[in-house]
């Protein structure tokens, strides 16, 4: 009797996953699928959740999103772990193309970066027109500043701004300059908790729930422009890349339907991304 019950228990434990394993490839594998290496901002802002179901509906192609920082997305794609890349760091994208990892880069959309600080504006930079000058003031006043520190597009932009300001913040790392090494959302959470300033893309900022006491203090500097680009992972180097489905996605994203949907995506009454495929800027 006891032994029989024990056998039943064992059987249950073994059959359970076996039964479940039958179901786990169903929806996502039904049609063709591609892997999109993208950034945390496109996922955290909800843009991809808005766009991708509509693309799948139209084409039957499922897009699996791996959302990491731009730097990691490019490295993953360079190893062949992805079909399409959607990132925001122009220089790094060009290096990626030049190294032969990707082909056919196209502009997709843009928005901008903003500097956010606690409402009492500890660095006294509210309304400044130059982001670099604002950063210099932050350094001079030793106001806590949280850096992404993760080689993401936002981090690359921040480092470029420090360079423009003529300041190297790294010797101060661990004091007022704090390198988080995390995604945009996590970095905003840290800035909220520390009462610190940080640089964020506007899409993540608008969509982020936990803003605490932070508010935008610097915006509108042309240096804060944030361009997103899409690329195909080089099929010559990685023959497994699903070229046809991947191209269908790139064409759709930069075509009239994708562009219109990007413009339509609004959160809290604001447009987060501005489509600019095929336009000079």
């Amino acid at each position: 009797m006891k032994r029989r019950l024990f056998v039943c228990l064992l059987a249950l434990l073994f059959l359970f996953p076996a039964w479940m394993s039958t179901a786990w490839v169903s929806p996502a594998r039904a049609g063709e699928s591609i892997i999109l290496q993208s950034t945390t901002s496109t996922q955290n802002s909800g843009l991809l959740d808005w766009l991708l179901p509509k693309f799948t509906q139209r084409t039957g192609i499922t897009v699996k999103v791996v959302a990491v920082g731009t730097g990691q997305a490019l490295k993953n794609a360079a190893r062949g772990d992805g079909d399409v890349v959607l990132v925001h760091a122009r220089k790094a994208e060009e290096a990626f193309l030049k190294a032969g990892h990707g082909v056919d880069r196209r502009d997709v959309m843009y928005n901008d970066f903003v500097i956010v600080c606690p409402k009492n504006d500890p660095a006294g930079i509210r309304g400044m027109k130059s982001a670099a000058a604002a950063l210099r003031r932050i350094a001079e006043t030793k106001t806590p500043f949280v850096s992404r520190g993760d080689d993401s597009g936002t981090h690359k932009k921040e480092l470029a701004l420090w360079k423009q300001a003529g300041i190297d913040p790294h010797p101060a790392s661990g004091t007022w300059y704090r390198e988080a090494g995390r995604g945009m959302g996590a970095t905003l959470n840290m800035a909220v908790a520390m009462g610190a300033c940080t640089l964020t893309d506007r899409a993540t900022w608008i969509s982020h729930e936990n803003r605490g006491d932070l508010t935008i203090v610097v915006e509108g500097d042309p240096a804060l422009f944030n361009q997103y680009g899409v690329m195909l992972v080089n099929p010559k180097r990685h023959p497994h890349v699903k070229v046809k489905a991947a191209r269908a996605f790139i064409d759709w994203l930069t075509g009239p339907e994708g562009q219109k949907l990007i413009a339509q995506y609004r959160l809290r009454g604001q447009q987060l991304f501005f489509p600019n495929a095929g336009k000079e800027h």
């Binding site: 006891k2 032994r3 019950l5 024990f6 039943c8 228990l9 249950l12 434990l13 073994f14 359970f16 996953p17 479940m20 394993s21 179901a23 786990w24 929806p27 996502a28 892997i35 945390t40 996922q43 955290n44 959740d49 699996k64 999103v65 791996v66 959302a67 993953n76 190893r79 062949g80 772990d81 995390r182 995604g183 945009m184 959302g185 996590a186 905003l188 959470n189 909220v192 969509s207 982020h208 729930e209 936990n210 803003r211 605490g212 990685h238 497994h240």
Partner: protein, 238 residues
């Protein structure tokens, strides 16, 4: 953030109440991946544990120490190793397993294998002191001895399996790297919590955490009750 905690628990309760289909999908995948991993690791680890406990051979002590040390293996490091193996540019890249539930199972199996082996070895070794003479007099040897001792130690080994399950279901580092946290495909409880935290949806993140906790509790209760029903001594308490 005001009233974050009350809001979070309220949300957790309402999520459980309406059994949100998105959450159910994530819960199901978490269970699938972690249970499969623990069972696979059990198939490999338990006989290995018995072998290490019952047979004397060269290098045995070294292997035991190694498995004990590997219990502290950081999931994120293991995830990285499995990522490099399964990446398209890695040695097993042709299989195309990266960013699939299979990759997550591979990572978690390797993660809990040392726990099952090291703890299992200790359980069986201590039981062996009691059974050594009996087994010798019955002339039980080799694979039959391993099978017999595994059966005799079954209740304590169930606790070992539960410890392994706890480790698997709670880890985020490995599944995040090899699974990619892909919606409707490789998103599990822990990676969903990480994602909602990074979205600033702290209430939802805590709510998901509560669901995860409830899940772990449920599995433990299930195993506990079934073991109690089938066995006499409360061996699970050890």
């Amino acid at each position: 953030m005001d009233g974050g905690f009350t809001q979070a628990f309220g949300e957790a309760l309402s999520m459980l109440a309406r059994l949100d289909s998105g959450v159910l999908e994530i819960v199901a995948l978490s269970l699938k991946v972690s249970l499969t991993s623990v069972l696979l690791a059990g198939f490999i680890g338990l006989p290995l544990a018995a072998m290490l406990a019952l047979h004397r051979f060269a290098g045995r002590q070294g292997i035991i120490v190694l498995f004990s040390a590997l219990m502290g293996l950081p999931p994120v490091l293991l995830g990285l190793i499995v990522y490099l193996l399964l990446s398209r540019s890695g040695p097993l890249g042709v299989l195309g397993l990266l960013y699939t539930p299979t990759a997550m199972i591979i990572a978690q199996t390797l993660l809990v294998l040392p726990i099952i082996t090291a703890l299992g070895q200790r359980v069986i070794a201590s039981l062996w002191e009691e059974y050594a003479e009996l087994m010798r007099s019955l002339q039980v040897r080799g694979w039959r001895l391993i099978g017999a001792m595994l059966f005799e130690a079954r209740f304590a080994l169930m606790t070992v399996m539960l410890a392994a399950f706890g480790r698997a279901i709670a880890e985020v580092g490995a599944v995040m790297i090899v699974g990619g946290n892909i919606n409707h495909f490789t998103r599990v409880m822990t990676t969903a919590i990480a994602l909602e935290t990074s979205r600033g949806n702290l209430a939802l993140a805590v709510a998901l955490g509560c669901v995860l906790l409830a899940l772990a509790l449920l599995v433990n209760i299930l195993v506990h009750v079934l073991t109690k029903l089938s066995g006499e001594k409360g061996a699970l308490a050890t």
